[in-house]
Symmetry: C2
Subunit: 130 residues, 2 copies
Amino acid sequence: MNALIDILRKNGIQPTPQRLEVAKFVLATQSHPTADQVLKEVLKRCPTVSRATVYNTLNLLVDKGLIASRTLKEGAVVFDPRTQRHHHLIDTETGIIHDIPWESVDVREPEICEGFEVEDYHVVLRGRKK
Amino acid sequence: MNALIDILRKNGIQPTPQRLEVAKFVLATQSHPTADQVLKEVLKRCPTVSRATVYNTLNLLVDKGLIASRTLKEGAVVFDPRTQRHHHLIDTETGIIHDIPWESVDVREPEICEGFEVEDYHVVLRGRKK
DNA sequence: CATGCAGTCTAGACTAGTTCTAAACTGGGA
DNA sequence: TCCCAGTTTAGAACTAGTCTAGACTGCATG
Ligand SMILES: [Mn+2]
Ligand SMILES: [Mn+2]
Ligand SMILES: [Zn+2]
Ligand SMILES: [Zn+2]
């Protein structure tokens, strides 16, 4: 927990109890939760936290680069503590979003997109459990 | 216009004036419009069309496979008349979504995602005009 | 021509994700 | 103790999208 306080302080985020609960959950999760899922989780330990604070904290963590927000799901942004480059596989049955290591997929020469300078790219896969 | 009527009929869609206006625009567009952008466009030629009809028609066209709906933009689904496989490049300055031909990006061995059978994939690139 | 009917269209209500607002709270300095 | 900047809160507001209930359309039948 003190390590978490240090992380927030180092990134210019004043560590309040509410922010610590949000960060503790979203930085450790293995899934890609929506803001609402983060709220539900944080409410278990901090029953008075407001939706606005959860949104504010998530956006703050995104702005500081501690998490990423991704548009992989229809209807709601999802948050992702893995900010290193990786791909995503969406289970077409459950909707669960899985992380795929960067090296698992080999993308060649994506820079050749006429007239554009490519800054970033990632692969979105769809599939189901074998 | 008669060709359009035939396309709708062949796909089991009764061609009404409202549906024809929606289809005429969305099947011919070079962009990736949101439902609201389609509504604004159709209102120019069919000033009494309702939002419900535009949504219903777009969903009908998606269900019949004539267009695709894509989650590439935060906050709203976009529609795409190009249903063949291709990639997308999002201009980070303007937000405009460009189509990238399938052959322009070479993705190798994406099937190797442990435990999953990959049904489909595409690359999402971000960049800006050179 | 009159009636009926299935399918369609419309306005507006409703839901859900997200942001905004304004007031209350908090916790270190003067 | 008082102040003040920063934070939190409840709820309003906004927006994308769906749903509902009634009106409309146009063909089929008597
Ligand atoms: Mn933001
Ligand atoms: Mn749909
Ligand atoms: Zn991820
Ligand atoms: Zn496209």
